[in-house]
């Protein structure tokens, strides 16, 4: 009886967070099957250990933490030891559907640059610019100090700005400019 209630609770979690979680995992991992697998695993794990979520704590960063940890685990243990998935699953091949050329090119270049980032930098970029988490929440998700998050974000921005895919042609949607430190 209690399990049935809990499964309903899981359904609520999934309806609220599955899409964003699986897309976040997709951006981190770089392919669809791994992202789906990671998120399924993450939700089941989060649901299993739901009691560990302290009262008053924010659910969203906690869930993201489980997702990111699962993605990191896959990147560390599984993905390096097996053949790459079918090319059409990779972020390299973001669908060239009927989108305007500029949009597709933008996505392709950004994703290409993103894939060249080390995992720990890619994670903070995705959480910051896709999941729209604050630096404080990102710190909770990755289990580091906010200062570390800030430092990693700065490093990621610097590398992205210097990435050839985002510099080679002009005009580019992402532009590099000089500005004073804010």
């Amino acid at each position: 009886m209690s399990d049935a209630v809990d499964v309903d609770e899981l359904r609520t979690w999934l309806e609220d967070g599955y899409a964003s979680s699986v897309r976040t995992a997709y951006l981190i991992l770089g392919n669809r099957p791994d992202a789906e697998d990671a998120v399924q695993e993450s939700f089941l794990r989060a649901w299993k250990f739901r009691d560990s979520l302290a009262t008053g704590s924010s659910f969203k960063p906690w869930l993201y933490r489980v997702v990111v940890n699962t993605c990191n685990s896959k990147l560390r243990k599984e993905i390096p030891h097996r053949n790459r998935r079918r090319p059409d699953d990779d972020l390299d091949d973001v669908a060239m559907i009927d989108d305007p050329i500029g949009r597709v090119t933008l996505s392709h270049d950004v994703i290409s640059a993103l894939k060249d980032l080390p995992t720990h930098l890619r994670v903070v970029v995705v959480l910051r610019y896709y999941a729209d988490l604050s630096e404080h929440d990102i710190a909770i998700v990755i289990g580091r100090q906010p200062g570390t998050v800030k430092s990693r974000l700065n490093e990621a921005r610097r590398r992205l700005a210097e990435h050839p895919a985002l510099q080679s042609e002009a005009p580019r949607p992402i532009t590099v400019r000089k500005e004073s430190k804010s």
Partner: protein
Amino acid sequence: MTTFDEQMMRRALQEAADDFVIADGAIGRILDEARDTASRDDGPRIRAFIQRHGGGRSTVFAAAACVALLAVAVPLFNSEGPAKPVNALGAEKKYVHGVALPASSNPEFTSIQGTGSAGTVATTGSSFTPTSGHDTLSVTTGVDVAKESSLRVEEVGTIHLTVGGKHFQSTLLQLTDFATTDGGFVASTQSHMGTKATHSYSTGSIILQVPEHNFTMLVDQVRHAGVATSVQTSATDVTGQYVDLRARIAASEVSRAQYLKIMTRTNSIGGILAVQDQLNSIQSQIEQMQAQLNLLNTETTYATLTVAVSESGHQTTTPTTKRTGVDKAWHDSLHGFAAGVEWLIRIAGPLLFALLLLTVLLVLGRWTWRATERRRGGIG
């Protein structure tokens, strides 16, 4: 400071992620999985949608750790009692040499005088001149206790025999008969027949190999075949080495079986190659140990007795064991030095003679030349 447009980054990531179409029924599958895990007593187990290949390596490493543990543990459990002194080859040495006492009434138990202890290697045996025409030499190998079938003892010996000139050939034949009668064989033989014309003596040596349990009997027979001027025997207990080798082979075979089992479960090429490497290494070790075991088997099955036979009146020389390695190099060097000195001494005589002759000729020549000059001056 270099930076980039954050809004553009947000938009690009959003657009890339929007291309990811959420699969129909994904949420339903997760809920089904959750219901399954909730209904199981042993807690939820997560089933992946994709096949995992990377886990195989962890399995290989875990199995390899088990195999390594087993390989260390088995020889330890198979080892016998406290450690005994061993030599460089890992074999316990037992050696007996010294002056032999008159044979005891009980041939199975004779007292021993002389030096020798476990873990030492004897250098020389005793030699003596027979007195009162009767042989007072008795030989003990000191390893009668090692005759039990569980023990592995490597026995070797050397006997110098002096025989009358007429009996030289017959003695060699008699020695051959001893070996064959005792179930053994003649490993090698070498002889030199002396003649009165050249004033040389007959000498020879014969190497006999007999089953280890007949060694004592053979020694006894041989020393009565002539006048034994020296007897030297040694025995090495290699039981520990033998048992250790067998245990290591057994452990390695278990390891090999484990790796073969792992091989059948490994899917990745890297894993298969890693297991194959381990298998090759283990196979090589097994073959090396098997060869050592076979050698030990041979050496402990047959005992070796070297008999040097010489005609009466000939100064016997102790047959030396075949030298190898640094020992051989050192002796070769000494031999070369001695040969060089010998050559110098050999040529010193003729050289000195030539020098003296030259000096005399010079003196004579000078004297003749002066006499001639003087005569010419007198004439002039």
